[in-house]
């Protein structure tokens, strides 16, 4: 089966519908599927619920989908870097479901692994636990969190072969594997598609079984907080 598509728009053709749940990889602006986000903007698909750790910044990443009002709800752990997000949220135009970061990652991983719910200590005694089932295990209280089963996953990797085996680079891996796993269909964008056999099978980070469609493209890879140290005299 052919997985490689020419453009992000072609790779999303036939898989979009209004009101769908999309899981997106990335942490801050690191490792975000920027080309697929642009294609979502172009597609005009709307009323989206997006599970993503962050919501991009104004004018980049998921911030673009906010500007066009295509997002109805975000499931995130931290959204502080986006003025348009805050404006829409405070005016009631945008729904927000806060998830502790590890709970969000595990909800994606669980969904992808066929696990509809799991118990965690994270958030017990806080607003996060309100309305959730509590249960004792070995003398401690845990809350029930549900797996995320997304209609579509959009992720970004460094390299892929044409069968969809993915390799990530440094901390750009972050939410991408879990996000990829939890979607009915996963579309991945990579910096380079290499010939079959040129990736070491022992060093594949995400097996191609999770990846249905694939594109290669140029990435801006914007840096959110550029921090440096002074070079001391050698």
């Amino acid at each position: 089966m052919k997985k490689v598509y020419a453009t992000a728009s072609e790779a999303l053709d036939g898989v979009l519908h209004d009101g769908m749940l999309i899981a997106a990889g990335g942490f801050g602006l690191c490792g975000i599927p920027e080309l697929l986000i642009d294609a979502l903007v172009e597609s005009g698909v709307k009323d989206l619920t997006i599970a993503s750790n962050n919501a991009g910044v104004d004018g980049f990443g998921l911030g673009k989908l906010l500007e066009t009002r295509q997002i109805k709800k975000m499931m995130s752990s931290y959204v502080g870097e986006n003025a348009e997000f805050m404006r829409q949220y405070l005016s009631g135009e945008l729904e927000l479901e806060f998830n502790p970061q590890g709970t969000l990652a595990e909800r994606m991983r669980a969904g992808g692994a066929g696990i509809p719910g799991f118990y965690t200590k994270t958030g017990v005694g806080t607003v996060i636990a309100e309305g959730k089932e509590h249960k004792e295990f070995r003398g401690e209280t845990y809350i029930l969190e549900e797996g995320i089963f997304a209609d579509l996953s959009i992720v970004k990797a460094w390299k892929a072969d044409d069968t969809g085996n993915l390799v990530f680079r440094k901390t750009a891996r972050n939410f991408n594997p879990a996000a990829a796993m939890c979607g009915k269909i996963c579309v991945a964008e990579v910096e380079e598609i290499v010939p079959r056999g040129s990736l070491d099978p022992d060093l594949i980070h995400l097996p191609g079984i999770y990846v249905h469609r694939l594109i290669q493209g140029d990435h801006e890879k914007r840096i959110e907080q550029r921090t440096v140290r002074k070079r001391e005299d050698a």
């Binding site: 959204v79 970061q101 590890g102 990652a105 965690t120 958030g123 806080t126 680079r169 901390t171 921090t227």
Partner: protein
């Protein structure tokens, strides 16, 4: 009391917090003063975890060597070390939730005498989210809070009960402030150390939480 030379400054608080770390520990440092702790670990073999998916976090890069694929949990560009490993977010929080991280050193807005911690949300101010804070305090073996003893109005941040929404309940083990070091103990907080020039009476007077002997 505020404004005079008594007590510890930010760097002295960070240096004191670094004394909590032992050789071989895997540690997660929060933003603010906790970040400075890395400057004071000396010869100790400490591996820093960054919860976005890295063990063995190095210092900021030299100018021109920033890598957009290599950031810490504060989204700042950083570097790797020869011990570094990378992993995904689910694995990262698996090691946090699973109790593999020996200690977290975090900032706080309020700590209660029973170890309750509030550090993610101020009602009436913009809520940005808890990020990984709730996972960290629920999962790591030892939670050390480093913060000023009082807020900018001079009110104690060590309280009988937190007033702000909680990050976790009964999670704090030790508090390091500009006035000294306190442990969460049976019935309240126990003073374990006084900062330079600070008396026990002064730390008691600056603390709303119950102090036990």
């Amino acid at each position: 009391m505020a404004g005079d030379a008594k007590g510890w400054d930010r760097n002295q608080m960070a240096a004191r917090a670094a004394e909590e770390l032992e050789d071989g520990m895997y540690v997660n440092l929060g933003i603010g003063i906790p970040t400075l702790v890395a400057n004071y670990v000396g010869d100790k073999d400490i591996t820093l975890q960054s919860e976005n998916g890295m063990l063995g976090m190095g210092p900021f890069p030299y100018e021109g060597e920033e890598d957009p694929d290599l950031i810490n949990a504060g989204k700042q560009t950083i570097t790797e070390l020869n011990r570094t490993s990378y992993f995904d977010s689910a694995t990262s929080f698996g090691m946090i939730r699973g109790g593999k991280i020996a200690a977290a050193i975090l900032g706080a807005m309020e700590v209660a005498e029973n170890g309750d911690l509030a550090n993610w949300m101020i009602p009436g101010k913009l809520v940005k989210g808890m990020g990984g804070a709730m996972d960290l305090v629920a999962g790591v073996k030892k939670v050390v809070v480093v913060m000023d003893h009082t807020n900018k109005h001079g009110d104690s941040k060590l309280l009988k009960e937190c007033t702000l929404p909680l990050t976790g309940t009964g999670v704090v083990d030790r508090i390091i402030t500009n006035l000294g070091v306190l442990d969460v103990a049976e019935g309240g907080l126990k003073i374990v150390e006084l900062a330079d020039g600070v008396t026990e009476d002064e730390i008691r007077a600056a603390t709303d939480a119950t102090i036990v002997n």
